[in-house]
Amino acid sequence: MSRKLKANILSISLSLLTTIILTSLLLIIIGKNPITIYGTLISEVFGTGYGLGQALFKATPLIICGLGLALCFQASLFNIGAEGQLNIGAFVMSFVAYNLDDYLGIMVIPVAIAAGFVMSALWGLIPAFLKIKRGVSEVITTIMMNFIALALVNYLLIEFIAVKSTVRTERILDTVFIPKLSDISSVFQGSSANMTFFFAILLAVFMYFIFYKTRYGYEIRSVGLNPTASRYLGVKTNRIILWSFLIGAGITSLVGVNFIFGYKGYYELGFSNNIGFTAIAVTLLAKNNPIGIIFTAFLFGVLDYGGLAVNTLVPKEIMLVFQALVILSILAVDKVVKIYYLKED
């Protein structure tokens, strides 16, 4: 294990510890016993197959969206537009799915996924193009395009597509759903977790391989670290920026698979529940490492479902505080580890 990896594990563990201590203090201040709260949370999530399944279900879209963002972040493209990109993609995915499921049967899944992927990627093309051709900061364009994306989907859905007096599309046929985890093991009975979770894990492993074991990965990371030197080293930097942005945005659309094919069967306004933003934290916490993203997404999944589980004892917002504290403490602890463990100045 390299020293850098050890340092990363050390700083993540230390920051988790710091967060647990700080949250405990907060719980004590509001007159709750932290041990009871953490105890309930852990037993609710890990003590039952249902709880664990729900945590995995919540983690799945975060893993997928985080992987798309990691591809952008590795190339130093600070894509804040995942929320918009994934809504456009998921919307198109469901549109294709319920229109073609009669004709294509199970084959509608790959077709709908491809359509959603392409739409999200095209949505990412606009900021990528502006960055390459005009040097416009992708942070600004992607934030702005979130509003456009959500308004556009909202308009199309309500005006033309939505099922009467709802804010959702038509439901797909029962025959084209992806199997639930409870179909395989009764342990997960009642939970919404589905096979998309395993797909997300596979995708993470694949992305890890690309990032750290292939020339593309090295080229993407070199552009992120030093675009000037990359150009001198013969890397086609603009091409890397374009494709990282397109494919990264495309991957975020796959969030829709978990919800449409794995859970509800349709696209619904507000389904994403800010996954596009939460995934930024998940990705940064994992330092853009795909394998790390599995764990940080799972942590956020646990907190998300765990928040509901302890809702009778404390407001579930305490878990949002926990999430925020994790991010703040990793920023602080990272620096400390760098100075005292890696001895950097």
Partner: protein, 498 residues
Amino acid sequence: MSSNVIPAIEFRNITKKFGTFTANEDISFSVAENTIHSIIGENGAGKSTLMKILFGIYSGDSGEILIKGNPVKFRSPLEAIDSNIGMLHQHFELIEDFTVFENVILGSEPVNSGVIETTKSGIAIKTLIDKYKLGLELDDRISDISISQKQKVEILKLLYRNSEILIFDEPTSVLSPVEVEEFFKIIRKFKDEGKTIILITHKLNEIKELSDRVSVLRKGRLVYEVDACGLDLDVLSREIIGNVAAVHLPDERAVFNNPDVLIKFENAKLKKDNVDKLNGLSFTVKSGEVYGICGVEGNGQSEIVEAILGTEKIHSGKMEIRTRDVSLVPDDRIGKGMIKEFTVGENVLLREKKFFIYNAKRIKEKARDIISKYDVRLSDETAPLESLSGGNQQKVIFGRETGLGNKLMVLVHPTRGVDINSSAFIYKIIIEERNRDKGILIISSDLEEVLKLSDRIGVIYKGKIVNEYGKQDFTFRDEAKKQEFMTNIGKAMIGAEV
């Protein structure tokens, strides 16, 4: 120097380790007040580490430092600055968008009830500029001034902070011969003012010209000390290098009939921000020769490289590059030559573009290959390239580019900041490559280097080759001829009529 005078700085048994690598081992010596004390040694000998300990950037593992007899232990550079110690780093620390004035006061702004006071401090800085003949304008933006002027801004910062002890880390590596002379004058003036100067350098002639005393470091230890009056350059070089057989430049130069023309510029012009960077540039580089371009920096050298790489287009005239693949050793090794966070092997693989899969075995093989062939010294081959010393980084880049096997090599300042031993090694490889029928373009401000390596030389001034010389012009029968030639070429470089 009498022994009862308290020295300005005294190092006592300084030791510093990084992991298993000992950067400084039991170093003890003192620097007398109001002298110029040179510290010399190869890349990685421990010079910079020792100075960083003095300046509070690192803390030593053991030993102590005394300033004017008082033990000190600076925990940060700020504390060192408060004790009137100033350090000129190899890499400048200037805000490009600020003016000279703003950069100088930054960090110790003269404040009058919350508002920055500009009149009095402006006059004070102006006085310093005039006194030391720095030739700077307070309102110039850093991004608009040359490297040597930037260095003067750094010097001005030290003066503004009343530094009495000045540490210069390889100060002349970015300067042209004319600028070096100017710099020497400034240093001497400092000494006349009663300041104490520590000069870290690779260059023997600088030591001879400036120093009162020299300390030689080798592999982290102090191996030799001598006063300037007893200085023998032969002894000194031996002490620096240690027991390593000197690398000899191959004398024989292969002769090739029918060489290919690899680069051909004909009356090329290139404008940047409405300034003619290349203005009627003409020269050719053929296979089997070394073509050297010398000149004061900023006369179009970097635009030649940009044009060859295709990142800048010439506006008129002709440029032909008859080969697609060009090996390049760029001027700024950290900014352009490598991804500093990647390891040796990763940097080589990335450049080669041969393989799609980069597994650990392949990375290791590449690293070992370069490390053994080019004598790269490093503690850990999985460490990022930034952890290597400058000379070793250069050897990695050099080895990588040579290994590509391209017909054309463009080398910009191939040995800048590289020690004697490594330079000799790099020179040897350049000539070997030439003898393999490669075409080599060297762009350097080190005239000795260009003379030593080139078959032909072009002097560049304001974007144009103003003089061209063949080998017979700079193969000298005696020292007088050489001096005459050097004077002429020096004049050509600054645009004086020859």
